[in-house]
């Protein structure tokens, strides 16, 4: 994962609240593997009409939107489903940061695990940032170390969980981090097996019926 510290880039004013993960990537596009690229499906059903034509006044269809690295939304961005594909779509489109007053809880974790910064700002600051963009793409600078957003000479503070901040700054992968705690995990399992035998092994009273594997898998 690429570390992220300072980012000065074009920002796209999405300006919508309750943008759930179903909208970020509709379910029907999720059968593909990541390698095929999810950016083309980002907010698909808002970006394109039912005939497949680009909706002219939708922010992601504005000129220069595809060069934006920052997205500005309103409250409850990324609520709903746990689908990490919503983050894949944002990242593959080119975004490295989303600014909003609140984020879905699972979305926040997914974002950080893919190097996308969820920058939480006060509701009034979000409105002020959107006002400064005035419906057009514009330059914003984001400083993760100082937790500050700069636009047209004005600074706004943003919040982020300290662990998420460290992971983004360092580009850390959780699985490697956890490997350092192998001894503690083993000790926990030994103690827990006597404390909660029903939790450590799953009871079975009869053999499981055999599930047949399809011939072509």
């Amino acid at each position: 994962m690429t570390p992220l510290n300072q980012l000065t880039a074009m920002a796209c004013p999405l300006g919508l609240s309750n943008v759930d993960t179903d909208q970020l990537i509709p379910a029907r596009f999720m059968k593909r593997s990541r390698g095929e690229g999810y950016g083309q499906f980002l907010l698909h059903d808002l970006r394109f009409d039912q005939a497949g034509a680009a909706v002219p006044d939708f922010p992601l269809n504005m000129p220069q939107a595809d060069s934006c690295r920052i997205l500005v939304a309103r409250r409850n961005f990324g609520g709903g489903s746990s689908r990490e594909a919503a983050v894949y779509a944002l990242v593959d489109f080119g975004f490295r940061c989303v600014i909003a007053p609140s984020f879905g809880d699972i979305f926040t974790g997914n974002a950080v695990n893919n190097g996308l910064l969820p920058a939480r700002v006060a509701e009034s600051d979000c409105a002020a940032i959107l006002k400064k963009l005035d419906g057009a793409v514009g330059t914003i600078s984001v400083d993760l170390e100082r937790q500050e957003i700069g636009i047209k000479g004005t600074g706004f503070a943003f919040e982020i969980d300290p662990t998420a901040r460290r992971k983004l700054l360092n580009g850390w992968d959780d699985i490697d981090l956890t490997a350092q705690y192998a001894a503690e995990i083993n000790r926990f399992v030994r103690q827990d097996a006597t404390r909660r035998p029903w939790a450590q092994s799953i009871a079975r009273t009869s053999p499981d019926p055999v599930t047949q594997k399809p011939a072509d898998s």
Binding site: D45, G80, I175, T178, D216
Partner: protein
């Protein structure tokens, strides 16, 4: 010493270490994987990593499985490909799988409790936001993303920051025709779709105690729709009775010892909560969503709101956008909304009790609109058929199909056509959730059945007057 909450007790019994900035490494007792896990297995393969505890990992096919023609090969190659990947991944890593042809197959959040995989005091995760369902047993259960699924597969642990704890007390008894779905939509409408963000919820109070396990599962299922990390109900006699003799629950002396431990899992009398919310069940009416977020919900006897009355511009913008998408006018009575289709199913409302509630309304009546009834599991299907519920649904003109996520996720062939309006027992009325351009009104199974009978959103209490309730 200050008392501890139920959540604190379960959390601390799973905490392996806490790092310098307060993140906890937690032990995972049960990890459910469904077809969407293919991203995580791909990550594991790229790292050439083994699954740490295949014995505590349970594979279930639910999201992509077709609900019709279940004895035939899956016709759609994309869908078959995703299901096949689950078979291959679970086989390669020696993980037990509940596949399409298994008589116990079902939606993961229905199957887990039904098979006794879900027990009190456990920590349960799954790459699905409605994992919060399992909290009904007094376990900590929450949804995770694909990167976290890969982490759990590789380590059987997960990093989490301890959330704050909210107690949501629902006093009194709900009136007839009002159930867990109405209680949940009510609190989400009051607090907002992100109103419980950063919190674990402990549901308490007479109305919660009075719910069956099935009702508690519905209530906890919808916790995520209010932004909560998870929802929990303290174990009691209802919990123990449900678990006795479940296939994978412990037996004999182990069960007795477990029961002692489980019944001790309750918030101490002097425990303090970070936030208290108190509701009165008697004030809750059958509730229906009108917009495109579960927070856009109102009692059935009210009217669609007017964006001009909204407190702030952002909220007014959301309302205008939602009304336009849903094809509704401000001040339109909710009971004047004509529906095109009915869906009864999903991890929220497809257990036996839900189907019985819908059948009690439909018995001897005809549906004015087409509809689909998909039981939450193959076992629920068998039980419903043994009680003759399938014949009530089909006699009313609704389709009775196999179990799976069906028209809740629109990934498996069951889709709400564009522009159609659906009375739905699912959990999400998001734009396009049940199919691109589809319009979803969330409600209880009894309310969905009432809508089927009249062709309009209808107060089920009117149709149940003089009838036996379920």
């Amino acid at each position: 010493m200050t008392g501890r909450t139920l959540f604190d007790k379960v959390w601390h019994s799973h905490e392996i270490v806490r790092d310098e900035d307060g993140q906890s490494l937690l032990w995972v007792d049960r990890h459910f994987v469904h077809e969407g896990s293919f991203h995580a297995f791909a990550k594991l393969a790229a790292r050439q990593q083994a699954v740490a505890r295949p014995d505590l990992t349970i594979g279930v096919a639910d999201h992509y499985v077709p609900t019709r023609g279940r004895n035939l090969p899956i016709a759609n190659a994309d869908i078959r490909g995703v299901v096949d990947r689950l078979y291959a991944n679970t086989a390669n890593h020696d993980i037990r799988l509940f596949g399409l042809e298994d008589p116990r197959q079902g939606i993961v959040h229905v199957l887990g409790p039904e098979q006794g995989f879900t027990l009190p005091g456990l920590l349960i995760v799954c790459g699905d936001s409605h994992t919060s369902t399992h909290g009904a047993f007094g376990s900590i259960a929450f949804g995770i993303g694909a990167s976290e699924v890969a982490h759990v597969l590789a380590t059987q642990t997960i990093w989490q920051r301890k959330p704050k704890v909210m107690r949501m007390t629902i006093n009194g008894r709900p009136s007839p025709g009002v159930g867990a779905k109405d209680i949940a939509l009510n609190w989400i409408a009051r607090l907002g779709a992100d109103g419980a963000r950063g919190y674990a919820i402990e549901y308490a109070g007479e109305a919660v105690r009075g719910l069956s396990m099935e009702g508690r599962l519905t209530l906890c299922n919808l916790s995520i729709e209010g932004g909560a990390r998870c929802g929990m109900v303290g174990p009691d006699a209802v919990t123990i009775d449900y678990l006795r003799d479940k296939p994978h629950a412990p037996r004999g002396k182990v069960f007795d010892a477990a029961c002692d431990a489980w019944l001790a899992l309750r918030s101490d009398a002097d425990a303090t909560f970070d936030r208290e919310v108190i509701l009165d069940a008697a004030e809750i009416a059958p509730t229906v969503s009108w917009g495109t977020s579960p927070e856009d919900a109102l009692p059935v006897d009210q009217s669609v709101p007017d964006p001009d009355d909204a407190g702030d511009t952002a909220h007014a913008d959301h309302m205008r956008d939602a009304l336009a998408y849903m094809g509704l006018r401000p001040a339109q009575r909710i009971t004047d909304i004509a529906i095109d289709r009915v869906f009864i199913g999903s991890c929220t409302n497809a257990r036996l009790e839900d189907l019985e509630a819908a059948a009690a309304v439909l018995r001897g009546r005809h549906a004015r609109v087409p509809g689909l009834v998909s039981p939450g599991s193959s076992l629920v299907k068998q039980q419903a058929e043994a009680r003759g519920l399938d014949r009530i649904f089909t006699a009313a003109g609704l389709d009775w199909v196999g179990s799976g996520c069906s028209m809740c996720v629109a990934m498996n062939g069951d889709i709400l056509p564009a522009g159609e309006r659906c009375a739905s027992t699912t959990n999400r009325n998001f734009k396009g959730r049940q199919g691109p351009g589809g319009r979803t009104h969330l409600m209880s199974p009894a309310m969905a059945a009432a809508a089927a009978v009249t062709g309009y959103v209808t107060d089920v209490r009117e149709l149940m007057a003089g009838r036996e309730p379920a």
